[in-house]
Symmetry: C2
Subunit: 333 residues, 2 copies
C-alpha cells in the first residue's frame, strides 16, 4: 500500500469542489460559511414577525428514481415536501438549503438533483442560499445517495395558521395530489410486482410532488383559512389530526374526490386494507384547508384551477379523523 490520500479513501474533494465552484458562479449567495439572507421590509414591517422552518426528505422515492434513471424531478419533490409544510402555517417561503449525502460524488447526479431543486425553489418563490454535499463511503451502499431539504419562511403572528379556531360545521377543502408525492414508497416498492415496473409505472410513481405555495398564499389574502394540513407520512388521518383542536373530529367522504389508478394498483397488489392505504398514502389529496362553512365557496373558487373539492366537514368529537364509504365500508382511522 503506497501513500494514502483522502481520494484513495473514497472522498474526491477536488471533483466536488470544482462542481461547487461552478455552482457558486450561478448562485451568488453560496460560497461563504453561511448563506446570507437580508430580511426585507415586508418582514420587518410585520407587527410580530415569525420565522417558520421545516426539514424533510423524499424517502425511498429516490430508489425508484435511480432505478428509472431519471433524477430530474426528485429535487422538486424535496423542495415541495418542505415548502408545503411552511404554507400550512401561512408562511411565505424565503430560502432553502439542501443536504446531499452520496456514496461517491457524481457530477451528473448532482446536476440532475440540483436542477430539480432550482425548479422547485423557483415555483415556490424561494431562494436557494446554501447546502452541503457529503461523501459517505462505507456508510451508504455503492452509488446510493440521500437528499433532504431545509426551508425557512416568514409570517406575521396574527396571520399564522394553527387550526386553533377550527369548530364543528367548518368545511374541509382538498387539493388534489399529483400521485404518491413523496410518501409510502417503501410499501409501494414492496408490493408492486417487478413485471409491472415499466416506464409508464415509473412515470406515475415519479410524478413530482405538487407545490401548493403560490395559489394558497394568493387565496390567503382573500379568504380566512383556519387550518391547513400537508398530507405526507401518516396520510389524511395522521396529518389532518395535527391541525384539529380538542373537541372536534374531521369527517371525510372519499367519494368526493378522484384517486389516481396507482393507489388501487398498490392496494390490489399487496392486498392492503383500506385503513392502511389511507394511513400510508395521500390517496389523492395533497393539501387540506379547513374554512368556515360560509368560506367554502370562495375557497373553491379561488383554488378552482388547482382542482379544489369540498371533501368533508368538521363535527363535534375528540380529535379523530373518520373516512366513510371506502369501498362501501365505514373506516375510522
Amino acid at each position: 500500500m503506497g501513500a494514502e490520500t483522502y481520494r484513495s479513501a473514497g472522498v474526491d474533494v477536488a471533483a466536488c469542489d470544482a462542481w461547487l465552484g461552478r455552482l457558486g458562479e450561478q448562485l451568488p449567495a453560496i460560497g461563504g460559511f453561511g448563506g446570507l439572507f437580508p430580511l426585507g421590509p415586508h418582514i420587518r414591517e410585520m407587527r410580530e414577525p415569525c420565522l417558520v422552518a421545516s426539514a424533510d426528505g423524499v424517502g425511498t422515492k429516490l430508489l425508484v428514481a435511480q432505478a428509472a434513471g431519471d433524477l430530474s424531478t426528485i429535487g422538486i419533490d424535496c423542495v415541495a415536501m418542505v415548502v408545503n409544510d411552511l404554507v400550512c402555517c401561512g408562511a411565505r417561503p424565503l430560502f432553502f438549503l439542501d443536504y446531499l449525502a452520496v456514496e461517491r460524488f457524481s457530477e451528473t447526479m448532482a446536476d440532475a438533483v440540483l436542477g430539480g431543486i432550482q425548479r422547485g425553489c423557483a415555483e415556490a418563490g424561494c431562494e436557494l442560499i446554501g447546502g452541503e454535499t457529503a461523501e459517505l463511503p462505507g456508510l451508504l451502499p455503492t452509488d446510493r445517495f440521500d437528499i433532504c431539504g431545509f426551508g425557512v419562511g416568514a409570517v406575521d403572528r396574527a396571520k399564522a395558521i394553527d387550526g386553533s379556531s377550527i369548530a364543528a360545521g367548518d368545511a374541509i377543502i382538498g387539493l388534489p395530489s399529483s400521485g404518491l408525492h413523496s410518501n409510502g414508497f417503501s410499501l409501494a416498492r414492496r408490493v408492486l410486482p417487478a413485471e409491472a415496473m415499466n416506464l409508464e409505472m415509473a412515470r406515475a410513481l415519479l410524478e413530482p410532488t405538487r407545490i401548493y405555495v403560490q395559489p394558497v398564499l394568493a387565496m390567503l389574502d382573500e379568504v380566512k383559512v383556519k387550518g391547513i394540513a400537508h398530507i405526507t407520512g401518516g396520510g389524511l388521518p395522521g396529518n389532518l389530526r395535527r391541525v384539529l383542536p380538542q373537541g372536534v373530529d374531521a369527517r371525510l367522504d372519499p367519494a368526493a374526490w378522484d384517486r389516481h389508478a396507482i393507489f388501487d394498483m398498490i392496494a390490489r397488489s399487496g392486498e392492503i386494507e383500506p385503513g392502511e392505504m389511507f394511513r400510508t398514502f395521500n390517496m389523492g389529496i395533497g393539501l387540506c384547508l379547513v374554512v368556515a362553512a360560509e368560506h367554502a365557496e370562495p375557497t373553491l373558487r379561488a383554488l378552482h384551477a388547482q382542482g379544489a373539492r369540498a371533501i368533508g366537514e368538521i363535527a363535534a368529537g375528540s380529535g379523530q379523523v373518520h373516512i366513510h364509504q371506502i369501498h362501501n365500508l365505514g373506516v375510522d382511522l
Copy 2:
C-alpha cells in the same frame, strides 16, 4: 404473502410517532407542520437584519460512533458543524433543525442522538424547533443511519464578517480543535490498523467537535474581527482561503500550535504526505480569526481560556495559504 402494511415494508410509523409525541412534550415548538420562531426585538431593531443559514452533517464519524457503541456525542458534532459556520459570519445562532435518516427506527438510537443535539444547542444558545426522522429501508444498509443539521442565525449587515477588509500585515489567531472534529474520518478509518482501534483510540476519534460560538460572540463585542474560518473539509488551506480577498496570502507556522497525537498516528499509519494531511484534517486548529496586527493581543486575551494562539499572518499574494516548516519542509497548499 398476507395483507401488506407499511410496517411489513420496514417502516414503523407508530414507533416513530410515539417517540415524536414524547419529544413534543419536552419541546413545545415541535409538532406543527413548521417550527415557529418569533423574531425578537434585538433582531427587529437591527439596522439591516440578515439571516445566515448553514447545513452540515458529521460524515463517516457516525461509523466510528456506531462501532464504538457510543452515540451520545454525535449530535453535539452535528450542531457544532452548523453553528461554527454561522459564527464565521458573526451571526448569533437562533434555531436548529435535524434530519435523521435511519434504516429502521430505534428509540435508543434516536434518544442518544437527540440528547447530543440538545446539549449542542444548549451550548450554542440556540433552540431546537423541529426536524425530520425518515425510515429508509432498502436505501441505507441494515442498522445504518445518517444525520444532518440545519441552523439559522442573525447578524446586522454592518457587523457581518466576510473577510473583505483583510490586508497584508493582519494577524491570524487559531483556536485549538478538540481532535478530528467531524472531518477526514473516511481516510482515518482506512489507514488506522484494526488492532489500534481500542477504547482509547475510539475516545480520541469521537471527542466532540468544539463549539466556538459563545466565546467568539463575546469577543466580537470587544474586538473588530475581519474574517473567521471554520476548519472543516479542506482543512486549513481549503477553509482559510474562503475568507481571503484578492491580493493576499495567508502564511501559517505550524510550529506555533500543538497537534493531538492522533494526527501523527494517522499520518504514519497511512504514510500520508503532510500536504494531504493539512488538506484533509484540521491538524489541531478548529477556527481561525483574522484581525489587524494591533488587535492580535486583545484577541488572544479575550480567547485565552479557549487556548488561542497567534499562528500566522497575512501577506501580499494571490489568495494562497502557505504552511511552513512541516517536518522541516516548506509546503505550499
